[in-house]
């Protein structure tokens, strides 16, 4: 079995849409992915370089407020300004979630949206402070989105050296033990290995990689100097740099004067490491094809990755060209959708109108989308730790997860769709030509439209791809 237009959208995009056409061939999918990123013109999210003025205003207001003298009249006013900016940033950032969802609902290139979500999770960096919480959307737009069909090493460098990541994984706290910075201060300044460890364990080689504690330590020393103040660009601060050369995975860096290019070189070497190829091939295949992907396909992705020095577009193409990527959707098996995929694909099948989505006030949006995602166990881009959201189906097949999905499927479609469709017709929109007879029966036998729609959305045929 090869390319199938329904499977193309269900398995590699955000599902079928009754109005947006899907790709007609694997060639077209590849061409779309390699082509211009058109949907961002329609649904914009600011990049970090052009930091959104409201988030920037928030940062400045917060700083002014914190610096003002305690108890002063000034401070009182600054507090009011800060609170206003906070509210504006909250509204603004909720708007970016809507834009991201609208892309999924209205794009003809669903694969790109899936890849953005996948890599944003791979390089998870939810903010740990007010400012970085609101800056997270721009981080994904800047460091992740433009690289999903390009070289992995470029994405790696963009993500790992981004202020968002430096803050999330404590790089801002890390200084060389023998740096000028550490020598000036008696206590509290030292090496923090967090970023170095996670780059090796999560971003590149993988937890089964052959790195040792010594590699972690030396890599952490190499990373010293990388830092970013809140609201500022990343800089390479010579005062924080650990003097001397460092050896990571057999390569030695920084034999002369320390330069940021040493860090970039180390990241490129890690990106091209065969263990990284294996780790990423496995992870991509599991994400799109389920807990036990075809071994031959995984091997193919790994080879393609190595042949192209980590060209992610080529790796995805290899997956789409492989027969095992197009296996039929078997009953009781198949990849179980993660909550945000479940919600996004339901919204797409319902063809939720753009205007309705944008008009919704913040409270309603939280009630209908953000809060249900939390209940389903997947708060929007805020996984529990740097390892991102769980991939295995068993994690998501929990009573709480299923209960929250049912709750959402019963209530939200009526609140967001232009007209709640006839469940019998909705089957075609949501499941395509191959819907199981039992779902047809259930949709017809439902007591009312609302339950009928919910039954279609809750069916294994919709939830497993």
């Amino acid at each position: 079995m090869g390319f199938d237009p329904d499977i193309a959208q269900m398995r590699f995009g955000y599902g079928l849409s009754p109005v947006v056409p899907g790709p007609a061939s694997a060639d077209e999918m590849v061409a779309q992915l390699r082509g211009p990123d058109a949907i961002t013109q329609r649904f914009g999210i600011p990049t970090s370089g052009a930091m959104n003025p409201k988030v920037r205003a928030l940062y400045l207001a917060q700083r002014a407020y914190k610096r003002a003298e305690r108890g002063s009249k000034d401070r009182h006013d600054l507090r009011a300004t800060y609170r206003k900016a906070l509210k504006a940033a909250r509204v603004e950032s909720a708007g970016w979630v809507r834009q991201a969802l609208l892309r999924r609902i209205w794009s003809e290139d669903g694969l790109r949206e899936r890849l953005v979500a996948f890599w944003a999770d791979h390089f998870t960096a939810p903010g740990q402070s007010t400012f970085y919480r609101y800056a997270a959307a721009s981080y994904v737009e800047t460091a992740i989105r433009s690289h999903v069909a390009a070289r992995f090493e470029d994405m790696l460098i963009a993500a790992v050296t981004h202020p968002q990541m430096l803050q999330y994984l404590d790089q801002n706290r890390s200084v060389g033990p023998n740096s000028r910075f550490a020598k000036k201060r008696q206590n509290g300044a030292g090496l923090n290995e967090n970023l170095a460890r996670e780059v090796l364990e999560l971003h590149t080689l993988g937890v089964h990689g052959s790195y040792t504690q010594k590699d972690v330590r030396e890599f952490a020393e190499l990373l010293t100097g990388l830092t970013a103040g809140t609201g500022q660009d990343t800089r390479y601060d010579s005062k924080r740099i650990e003097p001397g050369a460092e050896t990571v995975m057999g390569h030695t860096y920084g034999t002369r004067r320390a330069r940021i290019s040493d860090i970039h070189a180390a990241l490129r070497d890690l990106a091209r490491h065969p263990e990284t190829a294996r780790h990423l091939a496995q992870k991509i295949a599991r994400h799109f094809l389920g807990d036990q992907p075809d071994a031959g396909l995984v091997m193919e992705l790994e080879i393609r990755y190595r042949e192209t020095d980590g060209d992610l577009g080529a790796v995805v193409e290899a997956m789409l060209r492989h027969e095992a990527a197009w296996h039929a959707r078997a009953e009781g098996g198949g990849n179980f959708k993660q909550p945000e995929q479940f919600v996004s694909s339901a919204l797409r099948a319902l063809a939720v109108p753009e205007a309705r989505f944008l008009r919704m006030d913040a409270k309603t949006f939280d009630r209908l989308i953000l809060s249900p995602l939390r209940h389903m166990g997947q708060p929007w881009r805020r996984p529990f730790g740097p390892d991102g959201f769980a991939e295995e189906d068993a994690h998501w097949l929990s009573p709480q997860g299923m209960g929250a999905r049912l709750q959402w499927a019963l209530a939200t479609p009526a609140a967001v769709a232009a007209d709640l469709p006839d469940p019998r017709e909705f089957i075609g929109a949501a499941l395509g030509a191959e819907a199981p007879a039992v779902v047809h029966f259930a949709a017809k036998a439902a007591e009312n439209r609302r339950e009928g729609i919910a039954l279609v959305l809750m069916s294994p045929a919709f939830q497993r791809v």
């Binding site: 009630r367 209940h375 259930a442 609302r450 919910a454 809750m458």
Partner: protein, 414 residues
């Protein structure tokens, strides 16, 4: 039908038709005994509870100087040696009088110096002596379960939507939020079962969800034959999607109520969290809400469990750190070190304030600003576990709380 009360309508329709057994999807939840009768509830108080405001030291010049607004309020709830309980806890007074409430003063985790919520809560829930590099992956409550003979999925519940490190780890823990609630007709439930017939994993999780949703009073599967006004049901279901709007102020009581229901059945361990303790400004006002929620939660647990099971229950409420001894410029307090712990339950030997009082003169303070911690919260948790479930000292000191010295028997329980 104009003035039809939605909740009343729901209650009525449930009373008429709530028939879980009628649905083939709903199989009885299996209840396995785990041995003992004792129950343990852990409440994480997120944000840093001000122990000095919860347990107010006797008025003194130093206190008045350091806490000009907070120190001046009298509650009249004298618990011991001139120490008064915050008036926000007045509802808990009967528990104190019954010997079902106790406090630990000047305790903390081993976390020092940095005073970050994020790190502090990580350490509190991980139960470790040091902050590892990177986030901890396992909580002490989960490690405890790994050593509890007979523990299984339904033994422990993490309740609410707040992801808790405390219960994460290799042992299976059921997670459920009472905010997950829906109404489905029994016909809908039958059809749902039908579509999932050949997908056992999905079917089983769904069945348990229906059982759990039906067990806490809000919704579940209703017999729709008696329903005449579908619009009213629709309207009610709209309301249901608003866990934040609907009874937002009572979300914590729903959590406690659900915990009590599970603990009455086969569960022996439950945990949840309460927020709102980070009182940097106008603390006299800001602390009332979280304290009220804590009191509500404890009272809801007590009434929900009933006297007999409450008699086998111990509740530990713990926070990541205490707060500065001195008030700040906005009549609040900032992140500190030594704090307080709240113990409750019918199993407790209560009506006591445990722990050493370090004093609040400048020389007594930690880094000249915080109450000096005189004990480790983990020691109280470890003894509560030991007395509740009989775990060995070596397991507690090495596996559950690595590196902890449990010291002498605290004899927390009756």
């Amino acid at each position: 039908m104009a003035d039809l009360n939605r909740r009343g309508f729901l209650a009525q329709s449930l009373a008429v038709g709530c028939s879980l057994a009628a649905s083939p999807l709903v199989t009885p939840v299996s209840f396995a005994a785990t041995g003992g009768d004792n129950r343990l509830v852990v409440i994480i108080l997120r944000g840093g509870l001000d122990g000095l405001d919860l347990l107010r030291p006797p008025p003194s010049d130093t206190l008045m100087r350091l806490r000009p607004t907070l120190g001046a309020q009298a509650s009249g709830l004298e618990i011991t040696g001139g120490v008064q309980l915050h008036p926000g806890c007045a509802e808990l007074w009967p528990l104190w009088e019954a010997g079902e409430l106790a406090f630990v003063q000047a305790v903390s985790t081993p976390y020092r110096h940095k005073r970050s919520h994020f790190d502090g809560q990580d350490m509190l829930e991980a139960g470790t002596a040091e902050l590892g590099q990177g986030r901890a992956k396992e909580g002490w409550l989960n490690r405890m379960l790994q050593h509890m003979p007979g523990a299984e999925m339904s033994t422990a519940y993490a309740i609410g939507t707040d992801p808790m490190l405390l219960s994460r780890g290799a042992a299976a823990v059921e997670t459920w939020s009472p905010d997950v609630d829906f109404v489905l007709s029994s016909q809908g439930a039958r059809l749902l079962a039908l579509t999932m017939e050949r997908d056992p994993a999905m079917r089983d999780a769904m069945a348990r969800a229906l059982a759990l949703a039906g067990s806490n009073g809000g919704g579940g599967v209703v017999q729709s034959a008696g329903l005449e006004d579908m619009d009213a049901l629709d309207e009610m279901m709209d309301a249901q999607t608003a866990p934040q709007g609907r009874d937002a102020r009572h979300a914590h009581t729903r959590v406690a109520k659900f915990a009590a229901e599970r603990l009455r059945d086969d569960a022996r361990v439950a945990c949840f969290s309460l927020g709102g303790w980070d009182t940097h400004a106008r603390q006299a006002r800001a602390l009332r809400r979280p304290l009220g929620q804590l009191a509500d939660s404890l009272l809801t647990l007590r009434s929900g469990l009933g006297a007999q099971i409450w008699g086998h229950t111990t509740v530990l409420a713990m926070t990541e750190f205490g707060r500065t001894v001195a008030e700040n410029g906005t009549a609040g307090t900032d992140h500190g070190t030594g704090g307080a712990m709240v113990l409750a339950g019918g199993a407790l030997r209560g009506a006591r304030v445990l722990g050493q009082w370090p004093g609040i003169e400048e020389a007594d303070l930690f880094e000249r600003r915080d109450l000096m911690p005189t004990d480790d919260v983990r020691r109280y948790a470890a003894w509560a576990i030991r007395e509740s479930f009989g775990l060995g000292r070596d397991v507690l000191e090495n596996a559950v709380f690595p590196g902890l010295q449990m010291g002498g028997d605290l004899a927390l329980l009756r």
